[in-house]
Amino acid sequence: MSAAPETLAIRPPAVWLRFARALWRTATANAAMMTGIALFLAVVIVAIGAPVFAEVDPLDQDLLARLVPPSPGHWLGTDAFGRDIWARIAYGARISLVIGLVAVGIAMVIGSALGILSGYMGGWVDQAISQATNILLAFPSLILGLMVVAFLGPSVPNLIAAISLATIPQFIRVSRAPTIALRERDFIQACRALGFSPLRIMVRHILPNIWPEILVMGSLWLATAIRVEASLAFIGLGVKPPTPTWGGMIREGFEQILNSVYLALFPSLAILVVVLALNMIGDGLRDALDPRLKESKR
């Protein structure tokens, strides 16, 4: 029964400094989460500072240095066009992160707003939103993304649209259920008895109580979004070449898999690192928030 993980569950988000401190305490109490945060930050830094970290342009073809294995000149080797793999991975991180963060950000905002609305209002609003959610949930996110991108064409905005569309129902689901549970709680009934407007109740009283769960979901779905984006690129529906994407690099590397394993290996590792880091963060947050799994005597 350590006191630290409890803080996040209890402190309200009103004061950001306090929140950051709580997050810090949670992270330090949980080595895995700490590692996750460190790894993820490292990737973000590499993505932002790609031009600094990789001196070579990722699109520069060096026809004299094709399929060079990892060497001092090219840490991670070069591909079939002689492009530097490390540079491509660094720039590819930008695509993955931008698509993932924007798509999940949009889905998080729209999804949780709809979920809270649906759960709190009930009635036909709930019926309509739930029905739409069920329809979207009937699709595997990959298939949905695949269809949307296939028809609309692979571009960053379309990929973002496809992935948020596939992710919105997840956030509706994760915010609707606890909203319904909260709605029956006495303090929400007290708010109603005090004549608070539904909007105030949803924003000021329900959201602060469920947003930690949304945040956990956000980090886990960010992981999924990055994986789906890479999968789409692997299928050939990513951002169009020659723009470097991790999935696309693996796709190209897979064609050379019998002679140059490293082509597919390094971008695979990159994906693994980011997704693993995000999953570790999500797990840490969840452990900190889920009182059920905490050691306690009854």
């Binding site: 029964m1 050691e295 005597k297």
Partner: protein, 333 residues
Amino acid sequence: MTDAPVLAVRGLSTQFRIGGAWRAATRNIAFDLYENQTIALVGESGCGKSITCQTILGLLPAAVARTEGSIVYQGRELVGLSDAEMETVRGKEIAMIFQEPMTALNPVMTVGEQIAEAIRVHRRCTKAEAKAEAIAFMDRVRIPAAAQRYNDYPHQFSGGMRQRIVIAMAMACKPKVLLADEPTTALDVTIQAQILAELRDLCANFNMSMVFITHSLGVVAAIADRVAVMYAGEIVELASVEELFAAPQHPYTRALFQAIPRVDETAENLQAIPGQVPPITAFPEGCRFAPRCPMRMEKCAGRPPRLAAADPASPHAVACFLHHDLALEEAAE
């Protein structure tokens, strides 16, 4: 009543690991339970009554709880027995029933199976025999159409009926001692009256002794022969039910009586006890009730009073310096 108690508890203390340190949730619990007798442990939440009960059956996880003292059941020491040894005692010699009939039964097993299981883990018998016996017990605790309901699941029963099933399960091996942990608290009063009558009847017919935990003095009056009033992990008063209700001695017991709104007489004012029960991490030195006690004396804060009879001839014991000068340290040999 025979001479030797069925269950003798001495100097029992249950400690929990809280924030790395062992803290005693209960201290120096001692009582005797004789055949055919019901002793009630009464007190407010956090007084340690439920913990004491679970300690007797060794149900607390060893990682977070440890026990000191002695629990002697029919001449056999239970403290220090291995889990495997305790399994032969649980259910067979000492059984237990619980507060929440809604959650105490396994939701995916039929009630009949759950009763029959209690029989089969302690005795070699065929499935059919166990089933017949389980049905007989369901019948015995007045579950209507017992044979047809054998294959029903817990959710198909009302709260009162589920509590009867829990009782049938506890009775399945005809234990000598029944530990009842607030078995009527979650029930409505009309159902409570029925369950209390049922338990009285079973104790009489099966020669069973009972430790009955409750927070309600009204329920104590209805079921107990002897009463142990608990406060903050200690027994503060121990007496026969008649004596305790006629002449409560400990200031806490008296305060309790004055704090309950009675249904049978109109009171002008209730005497609320100021303050609140201290948490386990902040038990006061000396008498634990002293900070809230209207009769507090200087010495109350110094040493903890020992549970002893003011009049050596009487079995009415109280842990209070108003009645005697015996302190806890002097009790230790």
